[in-house]
């Protein structure tokens, strides 16, 4: 995905449902608690920084959300985030292309 493709997702993030936008760094702050400050992973928790394209990253979180990918914890986590927030997280963590 390029920036123009991600733009609609980013704009959705300011849609009326969430009166204001999430701060991507604060959102990613939750992920850091396990995946590490730089998304590097440790003790078997996978690397997530620059490890996927944006589309792959979004697809992974959607698969976790739908219980379509084996997980100990990510299903329970991913179901707490909206599509818009997942797009912001993808923009934060996925490879820039």
């Amino acid at each position: 995905m390029n920036v123009r493709q991600i733009l609609p997702f980013l704009l959705l993030a300011v849609a009326p449902a969430l009166a204001q936008t999430s701060d991507p760094a604060v959102l990613a702050g939750a992920c850091q608690g396990c995946h590490g400050v730089a998304g590097q992973g440790s003790h078997g928790i996978p690397l997530i920084k620059d490890a996927h394209s944006r589309a792959e990253f979004v697809a992974l979180l959607q698969a976790f959300r739908a219980n379509q990918r084996e997980a100990t914890v990510m299903g329970r986590i991913a179901r707490g985030y909206t599509d818009e927030q997942i797009a912001l997280l993808a923009a934060h963590y996925a490879r820039a292309q």
């Binding site: 999430s22 604060v26 939750a30 850091q32 590490g36 400050v37 100990t72 329970r76 986590i77 179901r79």
Partner: protein, 428 residues
């Protein structure tokens, strides 16, 4: 309060002072953080990484921080207390002005805090994450002196957990380990049950004739089915847990005879007695007028600014954040959002939308970990858990034996990953 400029400058190491120029930038300002624990250290690190224009002073009375998380693994003999103790050098090297002093007073109108040595530190925005105080005397006879014989191991300092670990090691085989567990709300809802598990793991291999009796002021607890499945499987005949309706509430302690006394007057004697007493927000938060009659601090759920005093953001265990538990991960989640709100308010922008996050892993045996997850958004008066998200690890019965072993093993491994990541974020 009067500010002595010279005294203040003397109190603050100048090497790391942010250039004056920075204050002219939009969104710059002096942020003072009280407490260098899970909330405060996370806030300081996040502020340096994300909002470098902010001038950050972290005031923490202790030179080192011994995490409560993984303290239970010290009891199991898996960890040393040194391996869960951290210093503030790295935070200082990242540009945080670290001041090792006790804050004795807060002056919200004058926007400054007073330190034990009498100096005043001015702020534009104040963050408080001072944690908890134990309610001495709430259990009759359980005061600070009693805790030297009956340790709690419930605050982030080296001595209490070291003492408890030593008592456990010195306990004769066949002795009873007695625990008193408080009613809600208290620090780390799954913590007492992880402790039961880790002490039982140790007893099973080192003192197989010993028993653990846990007396609980509640009838239910966090991750209960998962803990109870594991105790039955791993520690049959070792762990006995008694809830409030089975006379589990401890009302009184007798340190001289190492006995605790329940509501209906039964006396239970232990070779080691671990009392986790009722708690409240730490004193500095109560003195600053942040707490209500419950002893805890109400906050605005969208920002974590105090609901009682303007210009002060309260984080972590001191707050009323239910249904979010009082956990280190939760405190670090409050911290990041509060810092973003503070940066926005200094820049004259609206605060960002809030989503709060928590996961608590618990170790229950060798290669056996479980977890609880929660994602929260602000509601009108309190936080609300996002529907369909979060929850506890699956129970044994829902998985094949092989998947079960794998799941418990992976969560024990990932728990170590969590501990490394979060402490590295705070102190690395």
């Amino acid at each position: 309060m009067t500010i002595s400029r010279r005294a203040l400058l003397a109190a603050v190491p100048v090497a790391l002072a942010t250039p004056r120029l920075a204050f002219a930038q939009a969104g710059a300002g002096r942020v003072v953080i009280i407490g260098g624990g899970f909330g405060g250290a996370s806030a300081a690190r996040f502020a340096r990484d994300r909002f470098p224009a902010l001038d950050i002073t972290l005031i923490e009375r202790s030179q080192t921080f011994t995490t409560c998380p993984y303290g239970n693994l010290v009891l199991a003999g898996r960890r040393t207390v040194e391996s869960i103790t951290f210093g503030y050098d790295r935070l200082a090297a990242r540009g945080v002005r670290v001041v090792h002093q006790s804050v004795t007073a807060v002056d919200p109108a004058g926007r400054r805090v007073r330190l034990a040595d009498g100096t005043d530190v001015p702020y534009d925005r104040l963050v408080m994450s001072p944690g908890i105080d134990l309610r001495w005397g709430a259990i009759e006879g359980y005061d600070e002196a009693a805790s030297a014989r009956m340790p709690h191991g419930w605050i982030p300092s080296l001595q209490p957990i070291t003492l408890l670990a030593r008592q456990l090691q010195e306990m004769p085989d066949g002795g009873t380990f007695v625990m008193a567990i408080p009613d809600n709300p208290f620090r780390c809802p799954p913590g007492p049950y992880e402790r039961i598990s880790m002490v039982a793991e140790y007893l099973k291999q080192a003192k197989p004739r010993s028993k653990l009796i846990a007396l609980d002021a509640k009838n239910g607890f966090s991750k209960q089915p998962l803990f109870q499945d594991a105790w039955e499987e791993l520690y049959p005949g070792i762990v006995e847990w008694r809830g409030a309706s089975s006379d589990g509430r401890v009302m009184r302690v007798h340190p001289a005879t190492m006995e605790v006394e329940t509501e209906f007057g039964e006396k239970v004697k232990g070779a080691v007695v671990n009392v986790i007493p009722p708690q409240m927000a730490a004193r500095i938060a109560r003195d600053a007028g942040l707490a209500n009659q419950s002893g805890w601090c109400p906050v605005k759920p969208a920002t974590f600014e105090s609901a009682q005093v303007e210009g002060i953001w309260v984080l972590g265990d001191a707050t009323i954040a239910a249904p979010m538990p009082k956990s280190g991960f939760a405190a670090s989640s409050h911290a990041k959002h509060a810092i973003a709100c503070i940066a926005a308010s200094l820049a004259g922008r609206a605060p960002p939308a809030a989503t709060f996050f928590n996961t608590c892993y618990s170790h229950v045996g060798p290669d056996y970990g479980i977890s609880i997850v929660g994602v929260y958004r602000p509601g009108p008066t309190s936080l609300v858990e996002v529907e369909g998200s979060g929850g506890i690890s699956p129970r044994n019965a829902t998985m094949s034996p092989q998947r079960r072993r794998e799941h418990r093993h992976l969560e024990a491994l990932y728990a170590d990953g969590w501990y490394e990541s979060i402490t590295n974020e705070m102190f690395g």
